[in-house]
């Protein structure tokens, strides 16, 4: 099992400036969360002192807010439509619940049999008018709810208006990571999606193995990624920010560790990012990094691709701009040298996987195997991966 502790602090230092800013915002939110932070920092220090391990899964640093995957805190029009519909129905349900419960409690107290006071009970067998009433009234309420339900349904399931110039992204689920392809730009990345704000994003989902479900609650409801089928999500982020989510359809061993991060950026920032991603990798020519590239070619290319090189396999995440990502391993681990080293020593020690069940010929990949690398090879590989800006 994974070495766990509470060293969120370590990760904060490693996070990008943008993330640090968000973290500061969160810190200022309220006293309770500040107290919790103090406790966390103390715990973190203790954990550091004890084993120098860290918690690779702590997400507080990634994104602001106490509940970053809150489906009731919409940050875009799709999620907002769903949210308002849900609250309307929840209020109606709450009123019905309160009325029925009050009736139940009233009857129990009013008609409770008290000791020594038996009374004759009128044997009421029914009342047809009442039956008709409590059949028709709920049906009418439900019919009223059905109208906004169905109109919202068709709105959120609609294809984008061509005039809106939606950004198309192809989403492919894998055990246990996400592949994102940007056909407009011709590059492929993994686990971290960048989108522009104020422009609709149209996701087309499918899967390379089993059924997954793409879910970033603050942006939209989830949609399954089904092998052999294409499904869609139309979503949009109102404001720049980091929005996190995770796979929502049980997809096997490490389902819980199949996460995703969506970075919403201004149009200009997004364009700059996309342009950089479109560039082929600049391969190192000397030093440890060059040695790492040699090792990479013998050990990694049967699964990983780096565009502009002979490494083209699609079985595992495309690493062309690996160093530009904040995380890896299904967005579960922060992209730090320490994590990378630990990962290269034995991937299954950080995220549970079943590489022994891999069948490359059949395209069945259930994890990255332990490659038996030497410490020197690992250092060189890390140096190489760091050059993949």
């Amino acid at each position: 099992m994974i070495a766990s502790g509470h060293a969120g602090v370590v990760s904060i230092l490693a996070a990008s400036p943008e993330d640090q800013e968000l973290f500061v915002v969160e810190r200022q939110m309220n006293g309770a969360s500040r107290r919790r932070s103090v406790v966390m920092i103390v715990l973190a220090a203790l954990a550091l002192a004890a084993c120098a391990g860290d918690d690779p899964t702590n997400l507080a640093r990634v994104v602001g807010g106490d509940v970053p995957q809150n489906s009731l805190n919409p940050a875009g029009p799709t999620a907002a439509k769903v949210d308002s519909l849900f609250w309307m129905v929840l209020w109606i349900a709450t009123v019905i619940f309160v009325l029925v419960t009050l009736a139940l409690v009233f009857v129990v107290f009013r008609f409770r049999e008290r000791k020594g006071r038996s009374r004759t009970v009128r044997q009421l067998h029914g009342n047809t008018r009442l039956e008709i009433a409590w059949t028709i009234i709920p049906a009418v309420i439900l019919a009223a709810v059905a109208v906004p339900t169905i109109s919202t349904l068709f709105e959120i399931r609609a294809a984008p208006d061509p005039e809106d110039n939606a950004l198309e992204i192809e989403v492919i689920g894998h055990q246990w990571w996400w592949e994102f392809r940007y056909p407009e730009y011709g590059f492929t990345t993994a686990n971290e999606m960048h989108i522009p704000t104020g422009r609709p994003v149209y996701l087309t989902l499918t899967s390379a193995d089993v059924i997954h479900s793409f879910w970033v609650p603050r942006l939209s409801g989830k949609r399954d990624a089904v092998p052999g089928r294409l499904t869609n999500i139309l979503m949009e982020a109102d404001e720049p920010g980091t929005y996190i989510g995770q796979c929502a359809e049980f997809c096997g061993l490490a389902h819980a560790d199949m996460r995703q991060r969506v970075f919403a950026q201004t149009e200009a920032e997004f364009a700059a990012w996309a342009l950089a991603q479109t560039e082929p990798a600049a391969l190192p020519t000397e030093g440890a990094a060059a040695a790492g590239w040699e090792t990479f070619q013998t050990q990694c290319t049967s699964c990983h691709a780096i565009s502009g090189t002979s490494a083209t396999s699609q079985l595992a995440p495309n690493l062309t701009h690996f160093a530009s990502r904040t995380s890896f391993a299904g967005a579960t681990l922060d992209n730090t040298d320490d994590h990378l080293r630990q990962w290269l020593r034995n991937p299954s020690s950080l995220v549970p996987m079943w590489p022994e069940r891999n069948d490359l010929a059949a395209g069945r990949i259930l994890g990255m195997p332990d490659l038996g690398l030497t410490e020197q090879q690992i250092s060189e590989l890390v140096a190489f991966l760091r050059t993949l800006e």
Partner: protein
């Protein structure tokens, strides 16, 4: 009769009451197993990044928790009460096919043991109780999901056989005057459940067979690469799976419909409406399955259609709730333990029903689907509903089955602990789900805001465990020194209270002639002009009849033998190709059992 208690007697019994007891004891044993699985799950999730279970062990736990609770606890617990009381409630001396009844039980038991066996031979099923393809067919060399597919096939066979049996019993063995509309509502709901099983199980049977063939013979029913379709499995599974939900909850609704009138000293309000709403739920239950697939990409037209059908299944459910309120309205409520569980059922089921309506809002479901909000919803329905209803039935009928009353004070402690524990466990899960916690995740990260409510839920789950321990203590204490119940401890309304506790083997010395609904109540009371209940003077001693001349089904060891052969066969089917020889051995045993059965003389010469 000799050897009434020996092992051989229990193995060969064809008495519906003894088979009912076997179902009941087995269901309670598996309730403990499924409960321990639940506690392990909750321990793992008590804190972020829990390390009690590995991911692999966790996936086995949640798969087996659901499979156990659905197929090995709630269904057999309902089967226990149906077996024991359905014949008595309609004035019959046994079910229509007593040996088939025994066969159903033994197939069920062997199916449960077969699933349990998987724990000891390489791990239990780990693909979820819903076994979504192609995950369930992905790794054929690991046989866990073969155990799951074959286990469910065997359990399904048991349920189909008992459904045929119950339906035939209700249609052919009702006492004179027991018209269908005079049948107690529990008998009605058992009948509806039997029809639901009869029509839904063949669907899952085909699906499970296809999973098995995809895994073992390389067919590609659910493989997109092979021209199959993973979504097809979802349709087959939920076309069974949603009626199955009503299979689990309708017996509890039947129990509540018996308990509330008895403890209110009033007849069931709107009786025909309660019965017909149960039938309506049964029919509509077949038309809502795709609401389990609102995120699968069926397209807005199909989603809208299933959203509508799902919303409107709330109408007959509401009719039942309102009629129950009408039943207790104006009654004289005795808040004994069975009544508390039934009232708890109403409260909890209303919550589960209303959260169910929020799922029918397809756009909202795109957020809630596969989150803990759904887990909260169906535990309110299946724990707050089915389990509370079943415990209501257990406390209600315990004195009839054992002759002794469960202790009231301990019973009330059981109820309140379970009620509080249930809400502590499952209410926070609504929040967890809306806060973005997906189901079936063996760990959650820190910083997601999920820590507090997960810890509360874990505390709640141990409160439930404590309440179950209290129940077992009550049962033990009652067996040792319980109060003798007498024939009619609750001033009951239906026929089971007219006979001794426990009932004689032949149930009725004289087959009763039924004159009205709640016939036994009408032997004790009459109504004056304004409908008030007036006690009647005790009637003259009834005709003692001639019990010694009553024909009863003979014991037979062929049912258990046939079922054992089926067990051997499915074990062999897991381990193809060499297992084929084992399959052959099992087939010989089953054929031997069935052949001997068909040759068995109908009446033993030594009887009477």
């Amino acid at each position: 009769m000799t050897g009434n208690r020996g092992l051989w007697h229990w193995l060969t019994t064809t008495d519906h009451k003894k088979i009912g007891k076997l179902y009941g004891v087995t269901a309670l044993a598996f309730f403990v197993v499924g409960g321990v699985e639940a506690l392990l799950i909750r321990l793992q999730l008590a804190t972020p990044n829990g390390e009690i279970l590995s991911a692999d062990a966790y996936n086995q736990m949640f798969t087996m928790h659901a499979t156990t609770m659905v197929f090995l606890v709630v269904m057999p617990a309902a089967a226990a009460l149906t077996n024991y009381f359905l014949p008595i409630l309609i004035g019959a001396r046994d079910v229509a096919f007593p040996r088939l009844n025994a066969l159903s039980y033994w197939i069920f038991l062997f199916g449960g043991l077969f699933l349990t066996l998987s724990f000891f031979v390489g791990g239990a099923p780990d693909g979820g109780w819903f076994g979504y393809a192609p995950l369930s067919t992905q790794v054929p060399e690991v046989v866990r999901m073969d155990y799951w597919a074959l286990g469910l096939l065997v359990l399904g066979l048991a349920s189909v056989l008992s459904s045929v049996n119950f339906i035939t019993t209700v249609l052919t063995l009702r006492a004179p005057g027991m018209t269908l509309m005079r049948m107690p509502v529990f008998a009605w709901m058992a009948t509806v459940v039997s029809f639901l099983l009869l029509f839904s199980l063949p669907i899952i049977t085909i699906g499970l067979l296809q999973v098995y063939l995809d895994r073992n013979l390389g067919t590609a029913f659910f493989s997109a690469a092979g021209g199959g379709d993973p979504i097809l499995w979802q349709h087959l599974f939920w076309l069974f799976g949603h009626p199955e939900v009503y299979v689990l909850v309708l017996p509890a609704m039947g129990i509540v419909s018996e308990v509330l009138p008895t403890f209110s000293r009033k007849p069931l309000f709107g009786r025909p409406f309660v019965i017909f709403s149960g039938i309506a739920i049964g029919f509509m239950g077949f038309g809502v399955w795709a609401h389990h697939m609102f995120t699968a990409g069926l397209g807005p037209v199909a989603e809208a259609a299933f959203a509508l059908t799902t919303m409107f299944i709330a109408v007959p459910t509401g009719v039942k709730i309102f009629n129950w309120l009408g039943t207790i309205w104006g009654g004289s409520l005795r808040l004994k333990t069975p009544m508390l569980f039934s009232l708890g059922f109403i409260f909890l089921f209303v919550i589960g029903g209303l959260s169910g309506v929020t799922h029918s809002i397809a756009p909202a479901d795109s957020q809630q689907h596969d989150t803990y909000y759904v887990v909260a919803h169906f535990h309110y329905v299946l724990f707050g509903g089915a389990v509370f209803g079943l415990f209501s039935g257990v406390y209600y009928w315990w004195p009839k089955v054992t002759g002794k009353l469960l202790n009231e004070r301990i019973g009330k402690l059981h109820f309140w602990l379970m009620f509080i524990g249930m809400n502590l466990t499952f209410a926070p899960m609504h929040i967890l789900g809306l806060n973005g916690m997906p189901r079936r995740t063996y760990r959650y990260a820190e910083g997601l805001g999920l820590d507090l409510w997960n810890l509360v839920a874990t505390v709640g789950s141990f409160t439930i465990a404590a309440s179950v321990a209290v129940f077992f203590w009550n049962a033990y204490r009652t067996a040792k020194r319980g109060e003798v119940a007498g024939n009619d401890p609750w001033d009951g309304r239906t026929l089971e209270w007219s006979i001794s506790s426990p009932p004689p083997e032949h149930n009725f010395d004289v087959v009763p002639v039924v004159h009205s609904e709640d016939d036994f109540w009408h032997r004790k009371y009459t109504e004056d002009a304004s409908g008030n209940a007036i006690p009647l003077a005790a009637s003259a001693q009834a005709d003692p009849g001639h019990p010694e001349t009553i024909h009863l089904p003979s014991p037979s060891y062929y049912p258990v033998l046939s079922a054992a052969g089926i067990f051997v066969m499915v074990v062999g089917l897991v381990y193809l190709p060499w297992g084929l020889s084992v399959v052959g051995g099992g087939a010989v045993v089953t054929l031997w059992g069935l052949f001997g059965w068909s040759m068995e003389p109908l009446t033993r010469e030594d009887h009477g």
